[in-house]
Amino acid sequence: MATTTLEPPAGAPAYQRFWVLDWLTTVDHKKIGILYIVNSFLFFFAAGILALVVRSELAVPGLQIVDQDTFNQAFTMHGTIMLFLFIIPALSGFANYIVPLQLGAPDMAFPRINALSFWLLPLGGGLIFSGYLFGGAAAEGWTGYAPLTQQGGVGTDLWIIGLLLVGTASILGAVNFITTVFKMRAPGMTLFRMPIFVWTVLVTAVLILLATPVLAAGLIALFIDRNYGGSFFDPSVGGNPILWQHIFWFFGHPEVYIVILPAMGVVSEVLPVFSRKPLFGYKAFVFATIAIGFLSWTVWAHHMFTTGAVFLPFFSFMTALIAIPTGIKMFNWLATLWRGKLMLTTAMLFALGFISMFLIGGISGVMLASPPIDFHVQDTYFVVAHLHYVFFGGSVFGVFAATYYWFPKMTGKKLNEPLGKVHFWIHFIGFNLAFFPMHQLGLSGMPRRVSDYSPDAGWTILNMVSTVGAFMIAVSILPFLVNVVATFINGEPAGDDPWEGNTLEWATTSPPPPYNFDRLPPIHSERPLFFLTHGHGHAAERPADLEEDEAEDVEHRKGLV
């Protein structure tokens, strides 16, 4: 259903820059989105290799492959790169590409700042990695606890500066997304007619806007302690090491919701389309997302239960509370599947995988919310299991779901489905092999961030299984890469709307023209394209939608600002 016809018809434009220069200087949100995604995957592979180093070393007791310092650098860089240079930018990249399209807008509110936000990422990531060239990368864990970080070499300073740049990129991006949502929605799209993905990006952007600066303050204070004789965190000169933990986690906890919410948004786009039903409980889902946004500020000290320096009941209670809006979302997804007509495309498989894996991560999270249980498993592999189930089983599965879902829109070609399913199944099995045993490793007492363990501890078999799983995950990337390359070269053309989607990005060509839309369909609900495809007369639609006044379209456009 083409609502965009290119006029004048696309031919060679009168003026065309050399393609490298074009991509280097672009301010088009679609190209920037692709830059984000490609850059993120490169960092994903780098951090993945670091994970394989860690898992190879831990497969059996004894230090066989790397020395302790190299190991410590490996897990530090793995965590830092995965969180700051892969997951968040990848989801940002999809948001960059898709949000203006879903809003019916021609671009983001601030296109040049959009470009700046991107280019700060390879710069910041490069700085962080450059530690390897200067005597060793940062090796204090991605959480960089003081006063341990006092002792790090140049690598730690580069880590600090690199993160400051990456954080700046995030903050600028957040300003852009929030402004775009409030100022650039197409007429007729009230806030409660926005796609769920846009809602999750909006709440995420607010979290980024307000949390990342706190990390920046902490990083700067750390830099001053390390280089200018400051006494923020070093107890030997009057500082307080717990202050670092408070500052870091005040950012760090909203950070994990920043990581998961857009992925939840992706899942909430994919599930309805491939169930051929609307998302069940759209409004409740929006409010649950906002509630999670609010609650995420009140739980940070649950990372510090074992310090003996926090008020346990409050933080335990608030942490447990977050399970409620999360549970609501889970049920909304399940109800969307209920009596649907499920199409098990690869995107759908990853979305279903997300729900299954995130459930496990959520369950272990609720266990960690209980201080007595936390006293036993904090800083053990139980936490490593939990965080990988939510970050990997959650967010990364969401990234892959987004990739398979929106690849046709971005390139005009559909990824090969059988190959996609091979990717999914090897990935899914490998993932569970790698991380499920870590629950038991942690419960039986294996601490995290250890380069080695005793052969008498009884941890060897589970570690070996976990390593096999890790390599399986690595192997699963091969069909994915083959798929992407082969599809670029010779893929099946997708057309405007290969999935019978609901939202506006499917109302234009694949890929869209630079200005996105020639013409927009009328917007009366959160599924404008569904209406266009299936007509106003569909019996199951709420009558209220059919009574919208055309004049109201412009009235509602005013929004909040």
Binding site: F110, V175, T179, A186, G188, A217, G239, I247, L520, K558
Partner: protein, 207 residues
């Protein structure tokens, strides 16, 4: 942005064009951006204030002062506060002027604001040179220089913005209907002033 994004309904077309040209109804888009940016800066200073209060809490009452022979210069700081507060007023006069369509007055008030801002920075630097303690001298020194130093850096950012506004208004680029940059810079300048009031009150008055 182009006017090629159109509603299929004719009634919406003009509204859509107007919306795109003027950033819809309500606050201009650039100001929304500035407001959000300021929100992030509030959180940044919040983090710095947290370090201040944490350091303060670790020291018994009466012992919270610069390390000997350092001292705080309250009179100078009070003068600097007056300078900055005055500069907020002059900035606002400039904004009102251009809203009335008077670029000449805008130029005058911007120049005065810029001068006051530079005076504040010079005064801050002079203060630093006289204090007798450094960032490495006790936790007081660390949080004092960090908090006032980053505030000063933000004042500098504002000074850069004011310079650009002054240059642009000298070239006659602002009118009553089109002066978003002036509004944005003034919003930022007021923010910087408010932060200083908090910094001054916390360090010099609250102690």
């Amino acid at each position: 942005m182009t006017a090629r994004t159109m509603q299929a309904h004719p009634a919406g077309e003009e509204a859509a064009e107007a919306a795109i040209a003027h950033g819809a109804s309500g606050m201009p888009t650039a100001l929304v951006g500035m407001l959000l940016f300021i929100a992030s800066e509030v959180m940044f200073f919040g983090g710095l204030f947290a370090t201040y209060f944490s350091a303060r809490a670790g020291v018994p009452a009466g012992a919270w002062h610069p390390p000997e022979p350092g001292h705080l210069d309250l009179p100078l700081a009070a003068v600097l506060t007056a300078v900055l507060v005055a500069s907020s007023f002059t900035m606002q006069f400039g904004v009102w002027a251009i809203r009335r369509g008077d670029p000449g007055k805008l130029r005058l008030w911007t120049a005065i604001t810029l001068g006051l801002g530079i005076l504040f920075l010079a005064g801050q630097l002079y203060d630093y040179s006289q204090l007798g303690f450094s960032i490495a001298d006790s936790s007081f020194g660390t949080v004092f220089y960090t908090l006032t130093g980053f505030h000063g850096a933000h004042v500098f950012g504002g000074v850069v913005g004011l310079t650009i506004v002054l240059a642009r208004t000298t070239r006659g680029q602002f009118t009553a209907r089109n002066h978003v940059a002036v509004e944005a810079v003034s919003m930022y300048w007021h923010f910087v002033d408010v932060v200083w009031i908090f910094v001054f009150s916390t360090i010099y008055l609250l102690r």
